[in-house]
């Protein structure tokens, strides 16, 4: 008999479809990157670049984070997920909405499919926000990690809502100016408000946990929270009121300080870890923390050479690439293999535990394939970035090919975990 507060985790039936959807989205995005790598040498507001960006931001980044957070947020808030059906529904709405939206961008038609896609995505995110808000409200724990994560989700909803407004604004005059004018705000509340804060909120809890580190520093996390959010609000204000581009140094400086604080936090957690040997998945996740600074550095260059932008549109694309194919992809690839094997292991073995000798969760995927995919990813990422800087098609294609190889190997391992059957004794 077992007594005490043992909390059942969120059902794998809710979480796994998100992982599968994300893995396939990553593959599709990498195929498109290879086929249309030349598009990234032009202005970022072009159909193919927009299609790839939204597959990466929504199909890959957001879908896997939604799935993982349904599993991990109960750990952060020390409570349970409020409603499973709402979580299912968010998958269905987002799963249907994303291809419609991407099709709209690809065909550059802001008509019905894109509008319906946008509405479905917003419904999904609203359900996600409401579900986690109620879970947090019901939980006794109101900690800094949960606050950061909840704020990130609120920014996500702001991002998708603004995105929907921008889609409609192409056909009906809703906003003061053309939709393209607001793209920068739309992109940055998504990047800094949603992705960056989510990574900080979850990473600051999970990284010390996986490393078995003694380090905690709530004050630092609160400071990071204020810096990122204040920086972002200032960025939006500056952008709306049209201040001189150099003023953005202030906003970038604040966010960079926040990122620096998070890198410092992770470094301290790493230094004070008890578990000395760090596995490959964790190494890639830690590498992604350092990669956080790259897009900001690119943004600084972007501002410093603002006069060159008209002749070198690929710098904006480089910034987007560093965000979506850089730190975001690195942390997702790393964290996939720190979470998915455990979810499937629990599904397959939780009734059998103790009755037979079970494999370790990390045995559910092929580590050699993971190592090759990590190398392929790092080289692909570096080559494609160089290709964007120098506008070299051959280097772009080589980089894209390596990233496609990464996506194929990633999918191989993800499906290997999904299809895992109990080991016969």
């Amino acid at each position: 008999m077992i007594t005490g507060n043992i909390q059942k985790t969120t059902s794998y039936r809710i979480v796994l479809p998100f992982y599968l959807y994300a893995a396939l989205s990553f593959l599709v995005a990498c195929i498109m990157l290879l086929l249309f790598s030349d598009s990234l040498q032009f202005h970022h507001f072009n159909p193919r670049t927009l299609a790839i960006t939204h597959i990466m931001a929504l199909g890959w980044g957001t879908m896997i984070i939604l799935g993982a957070s349904y599993q991990l947020v109960p750990v952060l808030i020390e409570g349970k997920l409020y409603n499973n059906f709402m979580a299912y529904l968010s998958f269905v709405f987002a799963g249907l909405g994303i291809p419609l939206l991407v099709y709209g961008f690809y065909s550059f038609d802001m008509g019905l499919p894109m509008q319906v896609g946008g509405i479905l995505i917003n419904l999904a995110i609203f359900l996600y926000l409401a579900n986690l808000a109620k879970s947090l409200y019901d939980s006794k724990t109101k900690n800094v990690h949960a606050t950061i994560v909840f704020t990130a989700i609120a920014w996500l909803f702001a991002t998708t809502l603004l995105g929907l407004l921008l889609v409609y604004n192409f056909n009906i005059k809703i906003l003061d100016q053309d939709s393209v004018r607001y793209l920068s705000i739309h992109a940055h509340i998504g990047i800094a408000g949603w992705f960056l804060q989510l990574v900080i909120g979850v990473g600051s809890r999970l990284i010390p946990m996986f490393l078995i580190s003694k380090y905690t520093n709530r004050n630092l996390l609160w400071q990071i929270y204020v810096l990122v959010n204040f920086g972002l609000i200032l960025f939006i204000s500056f952008d709306l009121f049209g201040v001189h581009p150099m003023a953005h140094f202030i906003t970038i400086g604040l966010i960079l300080l926040g990122i620096g604080g998070f890198i410092f936090y992770c470094k301290k957690a790493y230094d004070q870890r008890i578990r000395k040997k760090v596995d490959e998945a964790m190494r890639l996740s830690l590498l992604s923390v350092i990669m956080l600074a790259l897009p900001i550095i690119a943004l600084l260059i972007f501002i410093l050479v603002m006069n060159l932008i008209s002749s070198n549109g690929s710098l904006a694309n480089l910034y987007g690439f560093l965000v979506f194919f850089g730190w975001l992809t690195a942390i997702i690839i790393g964290m996939t293999f720190k979470t998915l094997p455990f979810i499937v292991w629990n599904k397959v073995y939780h009734d059998k535990a103790g009755n037979l000798r079970t494999p370790n969760p990390k045995d559910l995927f092929n580590e050699t394939v993971f190592k090759i995919s990590a190398l392929s990813y790092i080289f692909g990422f570096i080559m494609f970035s160089i290709g964007l800087v120098y506008n070299q098609q051959l280097i772009l294609n080589t980089g894209a090919l390596l990233l496609l190889a990464t996506a194929i190997l990633y999918n191989f391992n993800v499906f290997k975990i999904f299809l895992h059957k109990p080991v016969d004794q």
């Binding site: 043992i6 020390e78 409570g79 535990a353 103790g354």
Partner: protein, 108 residues
């Protein structure tokens, strides 16, 4: 960390059995990880009371670790009923890891 008990001899046997129960993520057994707080034997009722914790209250592997602990004790002491109580006060902290556990983690 010392495990409280009311029967040192049987507690040693129980801990020996629990050394087979591994935290799947960390790869270390629950005894060296310091998850076991107390094991009491009640001879008249033929009952064993295990008090344990988890590294985090909502550990996704928690249910399976607790099941394994209960099963390992039940297998070792088949004439007893086992009650495993999960507690989070005091919460687990890395200082609870035994020197053997630390040695394992430093090498792994």
């Amino acid at each position: 960390m010392k495990v409280k008990n009311n029967n040192p001899e049987k507690c040693t046997e129980a801990l020996f059995a629990l050394a087979e129960v591994i935290d799947p993520e960390i790869g270390l057994n629950v005894v060296d990880l310091g998850l076991i707080y107390q094991i009491d034997f009640f001879e008249e009722e033929r009952k064993i009371q295990v008090s344990m914790t988890l590294t985090t209250q909502f550990c996704p592997m928690g249910e399976s670790i607790v099941n394994n602990v209960t099963r390992a004790i039940a297998d070792k002491f088949q004439k007893y009923s086992v009650n495993t109580m999960l507690v989070f006060d005091p919460p687990w902290e890395p200082a609870r890891i035994t020197p053997e556990g630390k040695e394992f983690l430093e090498g792994n």
